[in-house]
Symmetry: C2
Subunit: 292 residues, 2 copies
Amino acid sequence: MIQSILQEKKRLVESRLQELLQTKEPAHRTLYDAMNYSLLAGGKRIRPALFLMGLDLFRVPSAPYIDAACAIECVHTYSLIHDDLPQMDNDDYRRGKLTNHKVYGAGMATMAGDGLLTYAFELLTGLPAAAPEIRCRLIMLLAKAAGPEGMVGGQAQDIEAEGRLLTPAELRTLDRCKTGCLLCAPLDMAAAIAEAGDIEAAELHEYGIHLGQLFQITDDLLDAGGTLEEMGKNPGQDAVMHKATYVSLAGADGARRLAEEEANLAREALAPLGDEAKPFRELAAWLLHRTK
Amino acid sequence: MIQSILQEKKRLVESRLQELLQTKEPAHRTLYDAMNYSLLAGGKRIRPALFLMGLDLFRVPSAPYIDAACAIECVHTYSLIHDDLPQMDNDDYRRGKLTNHKVYGAGMATMAGDGLLTYAFELLTGLPAAAPEIRCRLIMLLAKAAGPEGMVGGQAQDIEAEGRLLTPAELRTLDRCKTGCLLCAPLDMAAAIAEAGDIEAAELHEYGIHLGQLFQITDDLLDAGGTLEEMGKNPGQDAVMHKATYVSLAGADGARRLAEEEANLAREALAPLGDEAKPFRELAAWLLHRTK
């Protein structure tokens, strides 16, 4: 069930993403190639799917808001390109393909990331279906989640943490910023469009926080035990980089238990929303048992 | 006259910039230090000054819009940080200080740039004096100017041009994107806030285009003939990087003549705006004769 929902959302998002980044200026061709290389490289499209599922939950037709889903994916893709750079994680593979800088060079990859981030905000200003105050609110929510108090803050903590043993509390703060914020933002954005009540919006946000932790813990488990084929990137990088992970702090069994706890907390956060929220609960279960 | 106007605008902008980027999260301290290091490193603050001068021209009180001026400077500062990175121009000095990555490392500098860019858009969503549709328009104008069809596009062309001889037309397109777009955006944003007529807005935009060319040509002249003390950065880098510049294409005298032409075109663009536009004409003359 959830897998077919995710497939459908992925198809919707990818068909629009393919149309978006086009240029008439020949001098910009390589930049657009570099942006599209990573943007169209596949992936689960979880963040835009969460946004579209949020609109479904509130019974808002999602077609007029597809560009907002794409803006979220542009921000996510930019973060992956910059995260893979030599001065960051220095990864060679992502989603089973060479990383952006391995193909286009580190300078062009930096610009591809910068271009995608900037374009995401431009895209949100042009959302025809949303009133200007809603568009402003969407931009604010996405900028806060992606900015220095959110994802960029988490990435910066990650840089500082290298070679140092983090406490479980520090790791939790780091992952909440780095992964959690950009999983909560799509839910917050859907609630903003639907003008949902504060309580419902808060329940959905709470779900997003636990989903973020669940996502990160299972990512750590996969990195510790996965193969390049399963992961689409070189496994074991966390250990090579001496990064603190849930696996290094709690062991594989401990991390598995933590993941189960987060999946339960995510599901419980949505209990008041009843049957309508079933796909979200299934998503948590699916992430808990994912193998890639 | 223009120098005292620039001084006053610089003081206004810097006093607000100092208040903006604060964090309560100890884990984000280094990131905020890195962002503030470059944001508060001085500089001419030409872009926010152009925005504030634009508001003056249209007789709009500028105090309620100071955060928009700061957002423009955040975007400019981010572009300098990324432009200086090892994979880009690999510069050691900027504004007489070590570049961001020389102090904080390339990873943190990448994040400081990303953080400033994202924060700029957040700042514009919160502009209390502007109606939501104006805020959306400001974000659109800044994102387009800074994005893949604007500044980032110009930077990407710059990367591709390395080691290759550009034609004068190619160099003009490159600089129009790389430097011109972010000099036009403040003028376009001021016109949007003032809800200026199309003709006045277009005259101001035209001025911005020529000011951008003038700025780039004099930058090339300074790079070819300046000292580290005058420039605040290592001079002669363009020649070291084998970059096409107006000096390499037209010689110093030819570049000087081109600069004079652009200064005249900039002044002429504003002729219909009469005496009110005097500071803008003085700014063009001042930039033509600048020594740093």
